[in-house]
């Protein structure tokens, strides 16, 4: 039986202060009209009424991560000789993500399969991951673009969270899901939670029924390979895409990165930064050849990675948590759930699809 608890709303500040004693606490903060995860401070305006614009992935997987620093030193005796000093000293602080949504928490489990349990372990990610506690807030209602239920998730999904909070009006009903969660629930301001369980359960069940499911054939239905391999399909669905990185950078499950050396004069840093498969440069090779020269190919990659290649490699798991950010914040409203809906319809015949959806953009410019 999972440990449960109750956090009265007026105790949130005490709770976050207590967590801050031995960890960096990241909370969704309102900045103007947007909400973004920021380190907790007493004057931060915490926003728990809507999902943050950004996902919390940067806490564990920073957008810019210094892997090492280097410095060249010239031999004062012999100008032609240069030595290099490397330093890979890094800091892995204890961290807490507070107030992310269940989809955000699930996002990290997609990373884990690639960075932790794979053949090659990513030590940077693993260290941050191990030291981070995730306290999610169950959603009461879906927001624009949300489709978690279509990708094996849900507004109160527990996968990836250490603690799941459910808003039961006067406070939050807390469910501990891991040892890290038990530790959180042992804090002094956490009260007995059992009496709120029924109310929380009701809210969770009602919320799940409200989320749209654009993939009625089920998340397990594989993508239709014929349609997936049809260029015209991709040209059509990618016609409006402007090849920016908003979808990938806001996505809780996109993990592709770039590594660059950024030096000035005789010293610099090797950094790992997020990259985006939507960018023209993403697969540009040194020779000048680009295997994905047009945006339709790039969008195919993004959708294929999440819904075809990743599941093939990792036991059918879909690399999308349905948070809806890529839809909600897309400059031109590209809807990945609509695209996958076509791909997962087993009766979908490419010819019929193209005829029905016209044959735009055959000029190769898209």
């Amino acid at each position: 039986m999972a440990k449960t608890g109750f956090l009265p709303k007026e105790k949130i500040k005490d709770f976050l202060d207590a967590l801050s004693k031995d960890a960096q606490v990241h909370v969704p903060v309102k900045e103007g009209d947007i909400v973004a995860f920021k380190p907790y401070s007493a004057d931060a305006e915490i926003c728990l009424t809507r999902p943050a614009n950004t996902s919390p992935k940067a806490v564990i997987y920073p957008q810019c991560d210094k892997l090492l620093s280097f410095e060249y030193t010239k031999d004062p005796e012999d100008n032609k000789k240069t030595s290099i000093t490397l330093s890979d000293k890094r800091d892995y602080p204890n961290a807490v993500i507070f107030g992310c949504r269940p989809c955000d928490a699930k996002g990290f489990t997609i990373f884990d399969k690639v960075f932790v349990t794979a053949d090659y372990v990513d030590p940077y990610y693993r260290e941050h991951r191990e030291k981070t506690t995730i306290i999610s807030l169950a959603c009461e209602t879906p927001f624009a673009g949300c489709f978690c239920v279509a990708v094996d998730g849900g507004p109160a999904d527990k996968v990836g969270s250490d603690v799941l909070m459910t808003d039961v009006e006067k406070g939050y009903y807390l469910e501990s899901l891991t040892e890290k969660g038990d530790k959180v629930l042992s804090l002094p301001m956490i009260q007995e939670g059992a009496s709120y369980q029924a109310a929380a359960q009701k809210i969770q069940t009602e919320a799940a029924a409200k989320v749209k499911n654009p993939l009625p054939k089920g998340a397990t239905e594989k993508v239709n390979p014929t349609l997936f391999d049809t260029d015209e399909f991709w040209q059509q669905v990618a016609a409006k895409c402007i090849s920016c990185g908003a979808c990938t950078y806001l996505c809780p499950t996109c993990y592709c990165f770039n590594i660059t050396d950024e030096a000035a004069r005789d010293k610099g840093e090797r950094i790992r930064t997020w990259d985006a498969c939507m960018f023209q440069h993403f697969t540009l090779e040194t020779s000048g050849h680009n295997p994905r020269p047009v945006k339709s190919r790039r969008l195919r990659q993004r959708v294929g990675h999440k819904f075809a290649y990743y599941p093939e490699k990792y036991d059918g798991v879909i690399a999308c948590c349905g948070c809806g950010r890529c839809i909600r914040h897309c400059p031109v409203s590209v809807d990945i759930s609509e695209i996958v809906g076509y791909l997962k319809d087993p009766g979908q015949d490419p010819k019929t699809w193209i005829e029905r959806n016209t044959k735009a953009a055959k000029d190769g410019s898209l």
Partner: protein
């Protein structure tokens, strides 16, 4: 009414063109999304209402065949600017213009309903009726329109092959266009610096602003990513982000058509158009030049006059 006329006109331009770029309903009732419509189908999907915010002309330079595009007054300036700069072949574009009394800013609508999930949106005359869990709220378009609409000088497209409905005149004073720039300039240097550092600090380097900008022409050689020249690193400091936004702005000197796409698409709600507008205000003052107003104009940065009336040369 206009929607029906628009649909009729779209049918007329086929088969002269293979594709018509217009708007359709998006993933929810508040959003519209571009429709690349071809002759055979989809007429029913075409919409025209104050939710048709996106400047669809951005797609034109990448189109290799003749297309038709539906434009509002503000959007049409982009086409004129493209022509001034030789970025499109006018013979390959059929322009369907729509006089426009203002569109909405999706961000402002969301703010007006306290960011609650949208259940339904109806456009009735000059209002949008937005339904959320708290009920229906009627918003006047003029209360939630993007800043550009408040000072719009071009409600009717400046160039078109077909016009849907009657032309309308602007009722906004021309002096109002750069009022916000002048107001911002009353702040101290420190205040302005702090403002931009804070705002650009939010940037996630997704480059939606760059890619949505119809006038960004460097394409895959953007200084944001090139390693040669290596002017900007991939680091995440406010300094690096600011550098990109400054270069973006400078590249648009006397070219920015003030369509506001950069600001509209920013997922972090950064006022990225502010500096571009300031530069445009300067260009207007120095060269008495308005972008995208007349296809026969030459952009000031595309030419050189020995004697510029408003530029004081060093007397050597």
């Amino acid at each position: 009414m206009s929607t029906e006329k628009l649909k009729e006109t779209i049918q007329k331009v086929f088969p002269d063109v293979e594709t018509v770029i217009c708007w359709q309903e998006g993933f929810d009732k508040l959003h519209t999304t571009p429709l690349f419509m071809t002759a055979s189908a989809q007429e029913a999907k075409v919409v025209w209402n104050p939710l048709c915010v996106q400047n669809l002309t951005s797609y034109l330079p990448s189109m290799k065949k003749k297309v038709a595009v539906v434009v509002k007054g503000c959007d049409s300036r982009t086409i004129v600017q493209f022509m001034e700069e030789g970025l499109i072949d006018r013979n390959n574009v059929v322009i369907i213009g729509i006089p426009c009394r203002g569109v909405v800013s999706v961000k402002k609508v969301l703010r007006a309903v306290d960011f609650q999930p949208i259940e339904d949106v109806k456009c009735v005359d000059d209002t949008v009726i937005v339904k959320t869990a708290s009920g229906e709220k009627t918003l006047k378009v003029s209360d939630v329109w993007p800043d550009k609409c408040a000072t719009c000088q071009y409600p009717t497209p400046v160039i078109y092959d077909y016009l849907i409905g009657d032309a309308i005149e602007s009722d906004k004073p021309a002096e109002s266009v750069y009022e916000d720039v002048r107001e911002f300039e009353t702040k101290t240097l420190e205040e302005r610096k702090a403002y931009f550092e804070r705002e650009f600090g939010k940037c996630i380097r997704c480059y939606a602003c760059r890619n949505a900008c119809p006038m960004c022409v460097c394409q895959d050689s953007c200084i944001a990513e090139t390693r040669d020249p290596h002017w900007i690193t991939q680091k995440l400091s406010a300094q690096e982000k600011m550098m990109f936004h400054m270069i973006h702005s400078i590249h648009l000197a006397g070219r920015c058509v003030e369509c506001g796409e950069c600001e509209r698409v920013c997922p972090m709600d950064i006022p990225v158009a502010k500096i571009k507008k300031k530069i445009n205000a300067e260009m207007k003052y120095l060269y008495d030049y308005t972008t995208g107003a007349n296809p026969d104009d030459k952009p000031p940065m595309y030419t050189f006059n020995v004697d510029e009336a408003k530029i004081k040369e060093h007397k050597l």
